[in-house]
């Protein structure tokens, strides 16, 4: 029995880490996919140089490499598991906690897990490359270095020299994590003096002699993720896990004194240890970013990447069971992607208003701009390739190059016939670990305009390209710009004509509607006129009878009936009911008609 008790703490630790990794894998696979799309690692000299221009460059370079592993979430999770195992074992070696006190070695790991799970939309906005792995990797390396330093002979001067030397040597490679390494190696007050001196002096010296591409004040926090958006830094709650890591180490150090306590006090100590682990776990749970729309947006992005339009619609409709019969709010980027999917499937005219509409803001502590989240994808899909390129480039400059930038810029260049730059981006993607198949899929299109034209993906978009060039600007409002542009457009291609008609419907502009309706009808030939377009024509014909005579148009009986029913119901409800109340009352019977959208959908604000 004693034998089993001896191994119980280690088994509990192993079980906890395994469980943590499993939960991470099962619940964050989509986020992991997003993270690797929003990251980049290239085996090139310019890429290495770009990392090494700041202290901690090597750590970030390796972290970026590791982030690629998230392409297969199990692999990325496994890498984290390995790092966390190293940390637990390393901390045990460093501080040698006994018995159940060993559970304290879990605390830094739990805090590190929070650095992975707390981010949400920060994944789009974080400027530090490899930021999901850097904390775990930095901590693991710091512990390994600290173990090596502690294994040095006991000569005080040798130790002081070794601490200072290690701090100076590892600072360019690990950045601020080198401070942790020498801090963890402290065994005496003298050591601590050497550590503080090194931490104070090393960045100053390196700033004057080696690093001239960062501000002096950032030299002490380099290679640490910074939750900064615009002119605001968000300390709370994002910096909490980092203090949690330090507190975890501190508790491990304190635990060394428990052996001097009586058995009874040791038992209290175990309770406190369990409470600490529980507290950290609760903190992890609270900090864990969970948002259904965030996940749905990622899954929709993945479906678009796979050209799986049915899945886009299916994901759009999904809602957690907790919502019951309530409608789940949707973000504008979801609505726009849904409309692109319907256009692709040729069902926009029958279905675009049958889905839940909305303008839910993304749950982030700062305003999300569509140009930075999703808008580039929409621009690509609807033939606004210069704007797709532009915003990818702007983001690449501001947040660093990422896989997604190269992918969309390569595809946009193919659509436009900008072969040289398409080849460049595809060649770079081919050098990545997992995106090379993607690059090889698109490489045959370089220089092959006919092949592009005949391709289901690229050819469709080429047909949406504007007929003539002009100077323009979107003022960062993707949806407004597209609605404005397409609702005024006229095209000879049926899909283009349908897109202009869709936008004319959304803008609810009767004058813009009719020419696009007739153009679409002309290109649609003898095919059935989709329901929403009929609804709009019937409604506008009745609202402004003098403008277009609709009496000879072959409307479906169901369209006429639903319009009649809509008007009847409106009369039944009387004139005194507010629009908000009407929207609720009309929703069950008419929520999937254009009439409902025209009269009762209000305050849709785009971002």
């Amino acid at each position: 029995m004693k034998k089993y008790t001896k191994y119980a703490p280690q088994s509990a630790i192993a079980a906890f880490i395994l469980l943590l990794t499993a939960v991470l894998y099962l619940s964050e696979s989509d986020t992991m996919w997003l993270a690797q799309e929003q990251s980049l690692w290239l085996p090139t000299k310019p890429f290495l140089n770009s990392m090494m221009r700041l202290p901690g460059g090597l750590l970030l370079w390796i972290s970026c490499w590791c982030t690629q592993l998230f392409y297969h979430p199990w692999m990325g999770s496994l890498a984290l598991l390995l790092l966390w195992t190293v940390i637990v074992l390393g901390v045990q070696r460093l501080f040698r906690p006994q018995g159940w006190m060993r559970l304290l070695t879990l605390l830094p790991v739990i805090a590190l897990a929070a650095t992975v799970t707390q981010n949400g939309y920060w994944i789009y906005y974080m400027k530090m490359p490899g930021f999901l792995y850097a904390p775990s990797l930095g901590t693991a390396l710091a512990i390994v270095i600290a173990c090596l330093l502690r294994s040095l002979p006991g000569n005080r001067w040798l130790r002081l020299f070794a601490i200072a030397f290690t701090g100076f040597v590892t600072y360019p490679l690990l950045g601020a994590w080198s401070f942790l390494a020498i801090l963890l190696s402290c065994q005496s007050l003298w050591d601590f003096v050497a550590v503080v001196s090194t931490i104070t002096i090393a960045p100053l010296i390196y700033y004057r002699t080696m690093y001239a591409e960062t501000m002096l004040k950032y030299m002490w926090s380099t290679a640490l993720p910074s939750y900064r958006y615009g002119d605001k830094t968000y300390f709370w709650p994002y910096h909490v896990p980092y203090y949690g890591i330090l507190l975890g180490f501190l508790l491990c150090i304190i635990s060394r004194w428990q052996t001097a306590l009586s058995d009874k006090k040791q038992r209290y100590g175990i309770v406190l240890v369990l409470a600490a682990v529980a507290g950290y776990s609760f903190g992890l749970y609270k900090l864990w970013y969970r948002d259904t729309n965030f996940t749905k947006e990622i899954r929709i992005q993945r479906a678009v990447e796979d050209r799986d339009w049915e899945s886009v619609l299916r994901i759009y409709r999904e809602k957690p069971s907790a919502w019951g019969h309530k409608e789940m709010p949707v973000t504008r980027i979801m609505v726009m992607t849904k409309n692109v999917a319907l256009l692709r499937l040729g069902r926009a005219g029958d279905e675009m208003f049958t889905y839940q509409d909305g303008a839910e803001l993304q749950h982030a502590p700062f305003p999300i701009k569509m140009t930075q989240v999703g808008g580039k994808m929409i621009y690509y899909e609807v033939g606004k390739e210069n704007f797709c390129t532009r915003w990818n480039m702007e983001d690449a400059v501001e947040f660093g190059w990422r896989v997604t930038h190269l992918k969309y810029m390569a595809k946009a260049a193919l659509v436009e016939g900008d072969w040289g730059v398409a080849a460049k981006y595809l060649r770079l993607l081919e050098k990545t670990m997992w995106q090379n198949d993607w690059a090889r899929k698109y490489e045959p299109f370089v220089g092959e305009k006919k092949k592009c034209w005949d391709d289901e993906e690229i050819g469709f978009i080429m047909r949406l390209l504007p007929g003539g060039d002009r100077l323009d600007g979107d003022k960062t409002l993707v949806e407004m710009y597209l609605l404005q542009t397409f609702s005024h457009g006229m095209g000879a291609d049926k899909n283009y004509a349908e897109l202009t008609l869709m936008c004319a419907l959304i803008t609810q502009d009767i004058d813009l509607f009719w020419p696009r309706f007739f153009r679409f009808a002309e290109l649609n030939g003898n095919n059935h006129m989709p329901t929403h377009y009929q609804e709009a024509a019937y409604l506008y014909g009745n609202l402004e009878p003098g403008k277009v005579d609709i009496t000879g148009m072959p409307f479906d009986e169901s369209v006429k009936r639903s319009y009649y029913d809509f008007c009847q119901f409106n009369q039944q409800l009387g004139p005194n009911m507010s629009e908000e109340e009407k929207a609720i009352r009309f929703r069950p019977a008419f929520g999937k008609t254009f009439y409902y959208f025209y009269f009762l959908v209000r305050n849709v604000k785009t971002n």
């Binding site: 000299k45 310019p46 460059g57 690093y211 210069n386 400059v397 460049k424 504007p466 100077l471």
Partner: protein
């Protein structure tokens, strides 16, 4: 730190560079395909080694480089002679390069190609700005200096050293007095704005915006001998093409010229006519003429703002080349003289630069507009100033199907460096060509890099390459301290 990576890379490359020539091989009449294209180029004797990679398929590669009695055999797909090896070869004259490839156990020898070595040395440095070919955002801008005799790249100043995210900082328009590293200037825009002027050991930041001027100084031209800098002042805007591959249009709605006296800190406006958009000043080598380009513009639709009117008519904005005589004693300029009426050719001529012997005026010409680096049709052209007809001609040897712009003459006029987007259409690379003094150039070659694939992998453009005679002695930190200071207001 980039030196450390250079060293590591060199060690890896060195280990791959021991090979023997094959004894049996098949002759191929096809030319070898290499990147960068150095086939038949002329290089200065003091140039860094031209490293290249072989593009032809093969399982193994051997390359023979020979000059006179000097022979070097290198193995591998990437052909990277060391600096010493290259100097030995170049010291013997023109270099012959022969590539052998092995496929399925059989060797093929490609036709040898020459790399001509000119005894005309090139200026040892160029400076440039590294910038993503972006539109509005400008993080991680750096002014760099590159030694042409080796691969050392040195930071002059990077905007991130003074750029907290809440107050970004654009840096641009670096320029020296005749390549003198002790006298140079560049602008800082937005955060901590001003013009940084390094002047024989002093660095100062000045505010060149004076009452009545369009802006502070923009495009500079340092007088060849005096501490005087001519600037254009510009109100510049950007718009975006909806489909054209040029992608972006940079336009001036107003622009004028000013002369700045560095020692006196005084700005002298030249002429302020809102209908004449003057830009890109350039001095003649004797300092007696100021060349520039200018467009005549009158608002066509007065019901809209001027910016909008120019945007609508962007394809009709065309610039001619002019010059004005300059009197150093009075710091005054005479009447303008038309040098090249590009408008009558339905073309737009910008960025005039005069060769050090005063004979050749090189400029960039496109079908419209001012900012030709974004115009795919932009070409470098020449005017022989000794020929009183000032007839322009295209410098055919220098141009490609893509953009050529932002050229600079070496101190002796034997070399030019210019920006070209010929590699991929988007990323600007510096190209060099030898000038025979009579308006003829050799085939241009791209700035050599230690890693032959470097430019394919690099996601930055080289902006405004300018020759320099030596290394900048001010450290980036010194310049950063200057940038932090309040700009000294220039007087009018």
């Amino acid at each position: 730190m980039s030196r450390l990576t250079n060293l590591l890379l060199s060690l890896v490359l060195l280990s791959a560079c021991t090979a023997k020539l094959p004894t049996e091989y098949k002759e191929s009449s096809a030319p070898v395909d290499i990147y960068p294209d150095y086939i038949g180029v002329t290089v200065p004797v003091n140039m860094a080694p031209l490293h290249f990679s072989i593009e032809n398929e093969g399982d193994d590669y051997v390359t023979l480089l020979s000059a006179g009695d000097e022979r070097i055999v290198l193995g591998g797909k990437e052909v990277c002679p060391s600096l010493k090896e290259w100097q030995r070869l170049a010291g013997k004259g023109d270099i012959s390069v022969r590539v052998f490839t092995q496929q399925d156990g059989k060797w093929t020898a490609y036709q040898p190609f020459p790399i001509y070595v000119s005894s005309d040395s090139i200026d040892p440095y160029i400076s440039y700005r590294l910038i993503s070919p972006s539109y509005v955002a400008y993080e991680n801008l750096t002014l760099q200096q590159r030694c042409l005799e080796n691969y050392d790249e040195l930071l002059i100043y990077g905007n991130m050293i003074n750029s907290p995210e809440e107050d970004g900082q654009c840096i641009n328009c670096h320029f020296t007095q005749g390549g003198n590293p002790e006298r140079f200037q560049f602008h800082v825009r937005q955060g901590m704005g001003g013009t940084v002027i390094a002047n024989d050991g002093d660095i100062n930041k000045v505010d060149l915006k004076v009452e009545g001027s369009v802006s502070g100084g923009v495009y500079p031209a340092w007088h060849p001998t005096e501490k005087l800098i001519a600037y254009s002042t510009n109100k510049t805007g950007q718009s975006f093409h909806t489909i054209h591959l040029n992608k972006i249009e940079v336009q001036d709605t107003y622009s004028d010229l000013i002369l700045y006296d560095v020692e006196a800190n005084v700005v002298h406006p030249l002429e302020c006519d809102s209908n004449e958009l003057d830009c890109f000043p350039a001095w003649s080598p004797d300092g007696r003429w100021l060349y520039y380009c200018s467009a005549h513009y009158e608002q066509q639709d007065t019901s809209i703002v001027r910016d909008e009117d120019i945007i609508r008519n962007f394809r009709t904005m065309r610039y001619n080349l002019y010059r004005r005589p300059f009197d150093l004693a009075t710091l005054s300029f005479g009447e303008r003289q038309l040098v090249y009426d590009a408008m009558s050719d339905s073309l737009s001529a910008t960025e005039p630069k005069i060769s050090p012997d005063g004979r050749w005026l090189m400029f960039t010409r496109g079908s419209y507009g001012i900012f030709h680096i974004w115009h795919g049709d932009a070409d470098l052209c020449l005017i022989d100033l000794n020929d009183s007809t000032f007839t322009p001609r295209v410098a055919v040897e220098l141009n490609s199907d893509n953009v050529e712009a932002w050229h600079s003459w070496s101190h002796d006029g034997r070399w030019v460096v210019f920006s070209s987007r010929r590699e991929d259409g988007n990323y600007t690379r510096p190209f060099f060509a030898h000038h025979d003094g009579n308006g003829h150039f050799t085939k241009p070659f791209c700035l050599p890099q230690d890693d032959p694939e470097y430019h394919r992998d690099l996601l930055f453009s080289y902006n405004v390459p300018e020759f320099m005679s030596g290394r900048v002695t001010y450290s980036p930190q010194d310049i950063a301290e200057c940038v932090k200071k309040e700009a000294k207001k220039a007087k009018k």
